[in-house]
C-alpha cells in the first residue's frame, strides 16, 4: 500500500501548529486583557515577571498545571470529566478553517463557515454538562442560563452570517475573502448592519460583558465552572479566549476582508484586524455593566432576530435586482 | 405640637403614665404598651418611625426602652417599660412597625425579653444553639475569660 507519508506528516505538523497557536494565543490574550483592563482602571497590571509582565502568562500556566484537581464529592463523574473537552475540542477544531493568509489555512473546506458555526455551537453542550455535572446550584443556574443564551443568539448570528454568504455566493472561507477583493463587505450598508448584529450576538455567544450572564460573578459566584480547578479550569479558560479569537477571526474574514491588505505578508493584516476587534471587545467588557437575563433574551428574540431576518430579506431583494 | 403637649394628651388618655428623668421620657406599664404605641403612631402626634428598641438590665428589673420619632413634629420620644425579672414579657409591636421585627429579635437575643405576638422570635446575632443572654448583668462567661496579661 502506498501510504502518503508526506501528506500525513504535513497534517500532523499542521495539527501541532494549531494546538500551539491555540495555547499561546490564549495566553497572550489573557495577558492583553489584563494589560488593557489595567490601563482602563488606572492600574499597571502584571509588571513583575519579565518586562511589563510579559512572562506572567508562563508563570500562570505553570501555576494552573500544578494546581490540585478537585472533584466535588457528589459530582456526576463522567459528565463532569467530559465537559471541559466538549468546550475545548470544538474550539480547537474551529481553527482548521480560519484563513490566516492565502496559504495559511489547514483545510479550506467548501463549507468552511458552516463548519465553524456548527462546531462552535457544540460548546453549549460542554457548558451545560459542566453546570449539570458539578452538582452545584450556582453551576446549574449558570449552565441553564448559558444554554438559553447561546441557543437564542445563535439565530441572529447565523442570519447575519447568511447575508455575507449571499453576497459572496460561497461558503468557503477563502472564497469569501476573495469575494471582497473589490471592497470589504462591511462597506455595504446591509452587510454593515449584519456586522453589527454579528458582533452583538457573538459577544453573547462567548459570554462576555455585557452578556456575561452565565458567569455573573456578583450573582452566581462563577457560573458553570465554579467547581472546576487546575487543568480542567484552564481548559475552560483557554477555550474562552480561543473562542474570542475565533469570533473575531470570523468577523475579520466575513466583514473586514480577512487577510486582504495593501502589502504582504497578508497574515500580518489578518492578525491586525483580529486583535483590533478583540481589543474593542475587551474595551467594552471593562466599561459596561451586565444586562439582566430576561432583558437579554427579549433583546435577542424581539430586536436582533427580526432585524436580521429583514436584513436577509433586503439583501435577497437587492441581489435579485442586480442579477 | 411640641413634646409636652404630646405627653399631656397621652396622659389624658392613659392615666398612670409617668414622665421619666427628662421631659421627653415616659414610663409606662406593660399592660398599656399596645394602646399607647398605637395612639402614638396613628394619633395626632404621628410617631411614624420606630427608631430603636433596646433594654437595660437593672439587676432586679429590666427596662425595655423604645425610641420613637415623628417626622411631622420633628420630635423624638423615649418610652420605657419596666419589667420584673420573673416576668420578662412585653407585647410585640410587629403589627405596628416592620422595624420592630428585627429590633425585638435583637433584644430577645441579648436580654431574653420575650415579645408576645412576635411572629418569628428567634435569636438574631448569636447562634440558635445558645442558651445565655449576653447583655444581662448575670451573664457568665462560661470559661471564656480574657487571658491575663503577662
Amino acid at each position: 500500500m502506498n501510504i502518503p507519508w508526506l501528506a500525513l506528516l504535513s497534517l500532523l505538523l499542521k495539527g501541532v501548529a494549531i494546538l500551539a497557536f491555540f495555547a499561546v494565543n490564549a495566553m497572550f490574550l489573557i495577558w492583553l486583557e489584563r494589560k488593557i483592563s489595567a490601563k482602563i482602571q488606572n492600574r499597571l497590571g502584571p509588571m513583575v515577571v519579565g518586562p511589563h509582565g510579559a512572562l506572567q502568562l508562563i508563570a500562570d500556566t505553570v501555576k494552573l498545571l500544578l494546581k490540585e484537581n478537585i472533584v466535588p464529592a457528589e459530582a456526576d463523574r463522567l459528565i463532569w470529566w467530559l465537559a471541559p473537552f466538549f468546550v475545548a475540542v470544538p474550539t480547537v477544531a474551529a481553527f482548521l478553517c480560519i484563513p490566516f493568509s492565502q496559504e495559511w489555512i489547514v483545510a479550506d473546506l467548501n463549507v468552511g463557515i458552516l463548519f465553524i458555526c456548527s462546531i462552535t455551537s457544540l460548546c453549549v453542550l460542554g457548558v451545560f454538562m459542566a453546570g449539570w455535572g458539578s452538582n452545584n446550584k450556582y453551576s446549574l443556574l449558570g449552565g441553564m442560563r448559558s444554554a438559553a443564551q447561546i441557543v437564542s443568539y445563535e439565530v441572529p448570528l447565523l442570519l447575519s452570517v447568511l447575508v455575507v454568504i449571499m453576497e459572496a455566493g460561497t461558503l468557503s472561507m477563502q472564497g469569501i475573502v476573495h469575494a471582497q477583493e473589490l471592497g470589504w463587505f462591511c462597506l455595504k450598508p446591509n452587510v454593515l448592519l449584519a456586522f453589527l448584529i454579528y458582533m452583538i450576538s457573538a459577544t453573547a455567544e462567548v459570554n462576555r460583558v455585557p452578556f456575561d450572564i452565565p458567569e455573573a460573578e456578583s450573582e452566581l459566584v462563577s457560573g458553570y465552572h465554579t467547581e472546576y480547578s487546575g487543568m480542567k479550569f484552564s481548559m475552560f479558560f483557554l477555550a474562552e479566549y480561543a473562542n474570542l479569537f475565533i469570533i473575531s477571526a470570523v468577523a475579520a474574514t466575513l466583514f473586514l476582508g480577512g487577510w486582504l491588505g495593501p502589502l504582504r505578508p497578508s497574515v500580518f493584516w489578518f492578525l491586525i484586524k483580529v486583535y483590533g476587534i478583540i481589543s474593542f471587545l475587551m474595551w467594552i467588557r471593562w466599561t459596561l455593566p451586565r444586562v439582566r437575563m430576561d432583558q437579554m433574551m427579549s433583546f435577542a428574540w424581539k430586536v436582533l432576530t427580526p432585524l436580521a431576518l429583514i436584513n436577509v430579506l433586503v439583501t435577497g431583494w437587492l441581489l435579485a435586482g442586480k442579477g | 405640637m411640641d413634646i409636652t403637649t404630646i405627653i399631656h394628651s397621652l396622659q389624658a388618655k392613659f392615666p398612670g403614665i409617668v414622665v421619666g428623668a427628662s421631659a421627653d421620657q415616659l414610663i409606662i406599664t406593660k399592660e398599656v404598651v399596645k394602646p399607647v404605641f398605637e395612639f402614638l403612631k396613628n394619633g395626632p402626634a404621628a410617631f411614624t418611625s420606630l427608631h430603636s428598641i433596646t433594654a437595660v438590665d437593672r439587676k432586679d428589673t429590666v427596662e425595655v426602652v423604645y425610641h420613637v420619632h415623628s417626622f411631622a413634629h420633628r420630635v423624638m420620644l423615649t418610652v420605657k417599660v419596666i419589667l420584673g425579672n420573673d416576668q420578662l414579657e412585653v407585647p410585640s409591636l410587629t403589627l405596628l412597625w416592620g422595624a420592630a421585627d428585627w429590633l425585638e429579635r435583637e433584644v430577645f437575643d441579648l436580654f431574653g425579653v420575650r415579645f408576645e405576638g412576635h411572629p418569628d422570635l428567634r435569636r438574631i446575632l448569636n447562634p440558635d444553639s445558645w442558651t445565655a443572654h449576653p447583655l444581662r448583668k448575670d451573664f457568665q462567661m462560661d470559661g471564656i475569660v480574657p487571658r491575663p496579661v503577662k
Binding site: 451586565r290 | 427608631h51 425610641h67 438574631i124
Partner: protein, 364 residues
Amino acid sequence: MDFQELTINMGPQHPSTHGVLFLQLKLDGEVIVDCQPHIGYLHRSIEKIAESRSLVQFMPFTDRLDYIASMNNNLGFCLAAEKLLGITASPRAQYLRVIVAELNRVASHLLAIGTFAQDLGAYATPLFYALRDREKIIQIFDKICGQRLTYNYLRIGGVAGDLPAGADQLIKDFMAYQRRILPEYHDLLTGNVIFCARSKNIGVLPKETAINYGVTGPNLRASGVAWDLRKDEPYLVYDKFDFNVVTGANGDSWDRYDVRMREIEESLKIIEQALGGLPEGDPVAKVNKVFRLNGEAYMRTENPRGELGFYIVGDGGPLPYRLKVRSPSFANLSVLSAMIKGMNISDAVCVLGSLDIVMGEIDR
C-alpha cells in the same frame, strides 16, 4: 408535573454579599419566593465590651462598627458622650469635626457607588475609579491622624490634634480634583443605558415602607423623604452651612445611587465652607480623662448610611452601665427580604448593592 423550589445559600462567602451576610433564598426558577437573611457572623458584642471600658477607652471600638465611615462613628459617639457629660467642644474642634466627617462621607459614598456598579456586573472599573478617589481622602486622614481606616481621631470634648501643616491645602486640592472627576462617574454610569435598565424601577422602596422599617439616610431620602439630621436636628455647626437635602423621586435603586452622587457634591460644599470659616483656637480637648457617668443620653447623627444612634446609660461610676448602638444598616437590611420577594436573583443583588450595608455595624 411536579415543581420544586430550589434553596440557595447565598453567603456567608459570596462575592456580592458585602461581608459575611448569609441570605437563604428559595427560588422558583430564578425568581425569589422567600428570603431569609441570617446575620451575626461578625458579632463581637461591642455593647458588652463597652460596659467594661471607660468612654475614652471605648472610642477605638466605634471605628470598628462601620469601618467605611470611622470618622462619623467617632463623631456620633463623641456627641453622645458630650451630651451625657454636658461638654461642648471648642469652635475650631467643631469645624474640624465637620470637615473630617464630611470627607469621610464622600469616601463612603464613593465606595458605595463603586461596589454598587460592581454588583451590576461592571467589571471592577467604576470600583477602581472610586477606590482611586477614596485613596486621596485616606491620604488626607493619614496626614491628619496617622491612620488609614480606623482613625480614632475625635476625642470627647475635641479632637486628637490640630490640622497638620499642609493638610488644608491637601483638602482644597482634593475638592478641586473631585469636582473635576465627578463627571467621569456620570459618563460611565449615570446615563449608561444598561446601568439604567438594570437599576431604574428595580427595588422600589415606597416612602411609607421605608419609614415603617426605620430606614434612614440616603435610602430614605431616595424614597422622597427630605429628612437629614444635619438640616433638621442640626448638631455641631451644621446650621451655619448652606447645603441642600437631596431627595429621589421613585425610591428605586437608581435613585439611591443618584442621591449618593449628589450628596457627594453637597458634602464638598460643606467642606469648602467649613474650611473657609475655620476659626482660630485650640481644638484639643482640655477635659478630664475619667468621667462620672450619671443619667442617660441618646444622640443620633447623620452617618453616610443613615442615622447612627448612641444610647449611653450611666450609674455614677466611670464605666457606662449600658451602651446601645443603633446602627443604620441594621434597619436598612431588615427591609431587604420584604423588598426582594418576587424578583429574580440579578435584581436582588442590585437591590442589596443599592442599600449599601456594612456588616460591621449590623452585627456589632
